[in-house]
């Protein structure tokens, strides 16, 4: 019988690969571009695969490690910055090794479609001595995930499957296979799983020995999944030879004709002999890779001259245009229709009915310093609000506000300004918790505003521990944010609806007046939740509108000015949230 062919998202193919490999436990924290993997896993039979949203990536990794040590195959998925949070368990899991296979899926975001930095996960792989596989399409996402579990068990190591945005979020054809049931016996082994100094010293020796075995096997591992990894052009010694991996391989195949190509599946540890042989059979060696010169540095360290980052930037993503332009020059790359002129930019905005709009409209008029965090509400930094002073990483709003206020308190040369933190409910549960403990414990006076929209919004609606249901929509306990803050020792806790702008403003004024730590929970669910019902589009009474534009300062995409200066309401966008009603001095907007 022919195998079933499907057009599958890269992330779905990773989920499928894990399923076919017999994975039993998957724990993740959502993060673009990795989120859909775990969502797809949750669609498999709960009797076969347990899966969960953990509060953060460190927890997710430890859940996977626990399941792996117990003997089951386990996986955790995260975006690149998530691995920073999960780096602690990764580095030591490299020492303990596994029992059932353990796979870390880490999705890098070159071009920062939805991220605060660009970082190259392969360096984490290198410094933790963990092998990394890089698929370049959905078929490889599926096959490499299965291979990752096999390598993990064969070499007793966690394995990183590194995706990038264009691999995670492309659809291509895959062949489905059967699931294999698998588990390893558990035996207590203190020398292997209890990493205290004496045992860890022994395991460090094991890691180095495993590294040598992986290096020796790396060419075979690559060949096992990409039978045509090395392609020599006719008369190859006179022509460039390109070394590449992941999505860059696809760009190379579209841009270059008549060159030799070495496509690497396993990019750590790299296959030295294979690379040396390739270099000996081609003219100049060119390395095409996104972000950092990881493969390039290795090839240079082998004593082989090559060009990589002097041609192809480490900033943003590559693409056929960027690769062609870098190698063949501007003219060869230019599209004949030229560049667009005078087209206004269109960055993302708060959705109509979004609770964050009211928050930032209010905050931006209060002269506060606002430490921001990671989520939809990062967009509060944009016009018209310009409502944030900082965005660094998950949880940083709360601890940075604490640091800022202490700096003002001990050093009178530091500029003084009332300071608040804004953080979403999911981000608060992720790492804001630890920071708020610090504020309470260390006599902070900052105000933390938890924007509780009852969902993880930006990544597309994943439940979190404060919500009362799981990834599979089962009812569960909900963390009570008020009791939680009080249990930490914060007495001053207010719950307020940000759509009541006067009450919200008063809550912030009161909290920042007092010399004690405070928490304001701005509670209103995300406008895109199915359970949220709005009355439907509002309307403008043109006879009352004086065209003053007070409503436009709300920054709502449904309100704009027409050519004659009149304010118009786009009924296809407006949900009738009513935020603009009270801003109109003439009461011209209503239902």
């Amino acid at each position: 019988m022919d195998k079933e062919i499907r057009l599958m998202l890269g992330n779905e193919a990773v989920a499928r690969g894990a399923y076919e490999a017999g994975v039993s436990v998957v724990s993740s924290y959502p993060g673009t571009p990795s989120t859909e993997i775990t969502e797809f896993v949750s669609k498999y039979d709960p009797k076969e695969v347990y899966c969960e949203w953990a509060p953060n990536e460190k927890v997710a990794a430890e859940v996977a490690i626990g399941a792996g040590v117990a003997g089951a195959r386990a996986m955790c998925c995260m975006k690149h910055v998530g691995l920073n949070v999960a780096a602690d368990p990764l580095y030591t899991c490299s020492y303990t090794g596994v029992n059932g296979g353990i796979v870390f899926v880490v999705a890098d975001d070159p071009g920062m479609f939805s991220s605060q930095n660009e970082q190259d996960t392969r360096f984490h792989a290198q410094s933790s001595h963990v092998p990394v596989l890089e698929p370049s399409d959905s078929r490889e996402c599926l096959e490499f995930t299965k291979l990752a579990f096999a390598i993990s068990e064969e070499f007793d190591t966690p394995v990183i499957l590194r995706l990038t945005t264009r691999v995670a979020h492309q659809r291509s054809l895959v062949e489905l296979g059967e699931r294999v049931g698998t588990a390893k016996a558990y035996s207590k082994n203190i020398m292997k799983y209890c990493m205290m100094p004496a045992m860890a010293k022994e395991r460090h020796k094991y890691v180095d020995e495993r590294q040598r075995r992986l290096e020796a096997a790396s060419a075979d591992i690559a060949a096992a999944v990409i039978p045509n990894a090395v392609n020599y052009a006719p008369d190859s010694r006179r022509k460039p030879g390109i070394v590449t991996s992941g999505i860059s391989y696809q760009y190379v195949m579209d841009v270059f004709k008549d060159v030799s190509v070495l496509k690497l599946a396993l990019t750590y540890p790299l296959p030295a002999e294979l690379i040396k042989e390739f270099a000996a059979n081609v003219g100049e060696v060119i390395v095409v890779e996104e972000l950092e010169p990881f493969i390039e540095n290795y090839i240079k360290a082998l004593g082989i001259p090559c060009r990589g980052k002097e041609l192809f930037t480490n900033q943003g993503e590559l693409g056929t245009f960027a690769v062609r332009k870098a190698y063949y020059g501007e003219e060869a790359a230019a599209g004949s229709l030229g560049e667009p002129v005078n087209i206004p930019g269109r960055p993302p905005v708060f959705c109509p009915g979004c609770p964050h709009r009211a928050v930032f409209y209010t905050l931006s008029r209060m002269g506060l310093r606002v430490c921001g965090d990671i989520g939809c509400y990062s967009m509060g930094a944009q016009a018209p609000y310009n409502g944030l002073d900082s965005v660094v990483c998950m949880g940083a709003s709360v601890s940075m506000a604490h640091g800022m206020t202490w700096a003002m308190r001990v050093n009178d040369k530091v500029d003084r300004q009332k300071t608040v933190a804004v953080i979403g409910d999911s981000t608060f549960m992720h790492t804001g918790l630890n920071s708020l403990v610090d504020v309470a414990y260390n006599k902070g006076i900052s105000t933390t505003i938890i924007l509780d929209n009852s969902i993880t919004g930006m990544t597309g609606h994943q439940p979190n521990p404060a919500m009362g249901y799981t990834i599979r929509n089962e009812k569960t306990v909900a963390t009570d944010l008020v009791l939680l803050a009080k249990a930490m020792g914060i007495e001053d806790v207010t719950v307020v609806d940000p759509f009541d702008m006067k009450a919200f403003r008063k809550a912030v004024v009161d909290a920042t007046e007092r010399d004690c730590p405070s928490v304001i929970i701005a509670q209103r669910p995300c406008a895109l939740l199915k359970s949220v019902k709005f009355p439907g589009p509002a309307a403008i009474d043109d006879s009352r509108c004086i065209k003053c534009g007070a409503c436009l300062r709300l920054g709502c995409p449904s309100l704009s000015r027409s050519a004659d200066g009149a304010v118009v309401l786009d009924a296809t966008q407006c949900v009738g949230c009513g935020n603009c009603f009270e801003l109109c001095p003439k009461g011209a907007i209503g239902r």
Binding site: T32, F113, D137, R166, G335, P340, V349, C351, A383
Partner: protein, 198 residues
């Protein structure tokens, strides 16, 4: 699809349904037995930002992403977005755009102006231009949300070698059952329109 390789770029504003359109075209290509890759944008850009997705169909497709000067067809949900991504279309390619205008935030705030001459600019470029009010047509079919399927219908009407029956099978595989009927209507209206303009 007379040409061996076919690249379709789909552009619009986050929330307009570009993702579903690319999934639909991808499913149709798969059913026609060709290699296909689709590139999507998830996450931050979906919140009312400019979004672009690619569908590439052929004997063997490598990069899933359409870059400058590579698209045979553009399906645009919004006028300003058609102009923004025009340089991604091949010389002599076809631009299919809805005439809907959605104001970017900088225009709403009076910092920039919405370009007034977009149709002129688009029609004077070296492409074939087909404009329609897809929002109105979708509304007439029963749901303004089926703008994406109206536009796909127009494209289908221009691609003669995939039979209607196969398109409808792909549509069935793409949209939820309870919305199939309204989407079928939207698709057929789009197809009709393409044929009447051909």
């Amino acid at each position: 699809m007379e040409n061996k390789n076919l690249s379709i770029i789909i552009v619009g504003v986050g929330g307009q349904g570009t993702l579903l359109a690319s999934k639909f075209l991808g499913n149709a290509a798969m059913l026609s037995g060709r290699d296909v890759k689709v590139s999507e944008v998830h996450g931050m850009s979906q919140r009312g930002g400019s979004v672009v997705t690619s569908v590439k169909i052929g004997e063997k497709v490598y990069s899933p992403v359409i870059d400058r000067g590579e698209a045979d067809f553009m399906l645009s949900f919004e006028l300003c977005e058609a102009a923004r991504w025009l340089s991604f279309v091949k010389e002599g390619g076809t631009v299919i755009t809805s005439t809907q205008e959605i104001m970017p935030m900088s225009v709403i705030l009076g910092q920039t102006e919405y370009p007034g001459n977009l149709l002129t600019a688009l029609s004077s470029s070296n492409t074939k231009l087909l404009t329609l009010d897809a929002l109105k047509i979708a509304g007439e079919c029963g749901s303004i949300k089926s703008v994406n399927i109206v536009l796909c219908g127009v494209l289908a009407g221009l691609l003669s070698d995939i039979p209607e029956e196969l398109w409808l099978r792909a549509l069935k595989a793409t949209v939820p059952e309870k919305f199939y009927e309204v989407n079928e209507k939207a698709f057929l209206r789009g197809m009709e329109l393409a044929k009447s303009r051909a």
